[in-house]
């Protein structure tokens, strides 16, 4: 026996490692609310480096762009250059003001819709290293009041929900992830269904009976039934409908630009009160 184990020690080690992870998988399948220690360690280790990398790359890009701008300006006529610089300066100032105004307008709109819910603006600092995983990290965490299952959104539509919270960062699960599910309804008819992620760029709207009238281009909104997302917020637009056995097979394109998120808003409030605190307004269906 000993000689056998000695001869096949590599294979034995593989079996031990796989068995240990198998037990670990079985243990994790139980429902849980707290963050696992190993996730906390990994996120604590990676988050500061991700933030640093983000800062260094952005700074380098800004420096490079400044250098390119300067190099181009020097080659121009002195008079035109002075004029151009003034125009550029003005343009940048206006663009900055416009961007700030857009951001404030979006924030204001959300504030008006949910007057009692504090909104937290957060910056996207990195994505998951697992290929295909639809998650990303934001730069706000437990120390800023972020909790699990808080809704994450942009002014265009919902983005996802917080799945793990760390001291200074949090992980967001996108609505396109296969593990994601959102209570939904059609804006035009208020027929309710569930939007599930596909692991790709589109979502699937399920449980819409074949008897119901649906059409490409219809808007899909949150129903609030999942007690995660506020009612009446845009999820996306129907882009494809195929006949199924009992239900329509519907694909939905998310309203939010999930592939180029830079800033998001976190609804920092008790989830089950959001539907009650939404103020009436033209955006509400």
């Amino acid at each position: 026996m000993r000689a056998f184990l000695q001869r096949h020690r590599h294979l034995a080690l593989l079996l031990v490692v796989l068995f240990a992870q198998l037990l670990l998988l079985a243990y994790q399948i139980k429902p849980q609310n707290d963050v696992r220690l190993i996730r906390l360690w990994a996120a604590t280790l990676v988050t500061p480096v991700e933030k640093g990398l983000h800062f260094v790359v952005d700074s380098a890009r800004a420096l490079w762009e400044a250098y390119i701008g300067l190099y181009g300006a020097e080659r121009e006529n002195r008079q035109l250059r002075a004029e151009l610089e003034q125009v550029r300066l003005r343009l940048h100032e206006l663009q900055a003001r416009a961007a700030e105004a857009d951001r404030l307008a979006a924030m204001l709109e959300l504030k008006q819709n949910y007057p009692k819910v504090p909104l937290l603006a957060a910056e996207v600092i990195g994505a998951s290293p697992a290929p295909g995983a639809r998650t990303f990290f934001v730069d706000h965490g437990r120390n800023h009041g972020v909790k699990r299952n808080m809704a994450v959104l942009t002014p265009l539509g919902i983005v996802g929900k917080i799945i793990h919270v760390y001291p200074n960062s949090a992980q967001v699960l996108l609505i396109t992830d296969r593990e994601s599910g959102v209570g939904a309804m059609l804006a035009e008819t208020h027929v309710q269904g569930v939007v599930k992620g596909t692991g790709q760029n589109l979502c699937r709207l399920e449980y819409i009976s074949k008897e119901e009238a649906v059409a490409v281009g219809m808007r899909v909104l949150t129903s609030g039934q999942d007690l995660l997302y506020p009612k009446g917020f845009p999820i996306g637009t129907i882009v494809s409908i195929e006949p199924g056995e009992y239900f329509h097979e519907i694909l939905v394109e998310p309203a939010a630009h999930l592939d180029r998120l830079e800033h998001v808003f976190i609804l920092v409030g008790v989830v089950d009160t959001l539907a009650l605190t939404r103020a009436p307004g033209p955006a509400q269906d």
Binding site: R9, H10, L11, L13, L14, V17, L18, Q21, L22, L24, L25, Q28, I29, R36, I38, R39, W41, A42, A43, V46, V49, E50, L53, H54, V57, V124, I125, G126, A127, S128, P129, A130, P131, G132, A133, T135, F136, I163, Q171, L173, D177, R178, E179, D259
Partner: protein, 168 residues
């Protein structure tokens, strides 16, 4: 162009090994934020395959695969152990194969990475389907594309990593 003998065993400074793993995971996470196409790549897998092919020690490489996989799981919505198990198998398999094959030539490396990418996906999807009862696809055109991209990138990455190794 000359190649090393097929049975040569190499070692890496510990800092180089840890640096390669951490760099692969950070790069994967950082690029995934900016480039959608990065979802095709699996840089941590390439690192595990490389160390399996060069160190030729199944035990140490399967433990490396375990650590890399668990680290990936911890930074993703996966259950801890999904990538851990898949990459443990890859670490063991690559080191076992490297003892019997000449893995120094780029064409051989291309084919091996191509094959091990599929084996990794097969193991990962198998774990999802058999153990977790989730749906998944064992084979698809996008997987073929991803295997090819990883194989081509693997040849380049391995060439770079070769510069840091020393004969044991």
């Amino acid at each position: 162009m000359t190649y090393e003998p097929r049975t040569e065993v190499y070692r890496f400074p510990l800092a180089g090994l840890i640096g390669s793993v951490v760099l692969a995971i950070l790069l994967q996470a950082y690029l995934a934020k900016h480039l959608v196409s990065v979802a095709l790549l699996d840089l941590p897998l390439l690192v595990v395959i490389y160390f399996g092919l060069t160190r030729r020690n199944p035990s140490s490489t399967l433990l490396l695969g375990l650590l890399v996989g668990v680290f990936q799981d911890a930074l993703s919505p996966n259950l801890i152990g999904q990538y851990g198990m898949a990459k443990s198998v890859i670490g063991f398999a690559t080191a076992s194969v490297s003892v019997r094959l000449d893995v120094e030539r780029p064409p051989a490396r291309l084919l091996l990475v191509f094959f091990f990418y599929f084996l990794h996906q097969f193991a990962y999807v198998g774990i999802e389907q058999l153990l977790l009862g989730r749906s998944g696809t064992f084979f698809g055109l996008n997987m073929l594309e991803a295997a090819l991209v990883n194989a081509l990138l693997g040849v380049l990455v391995f060439h770079v990593l070769d510069r840091f190794r020393q004969p044991a």
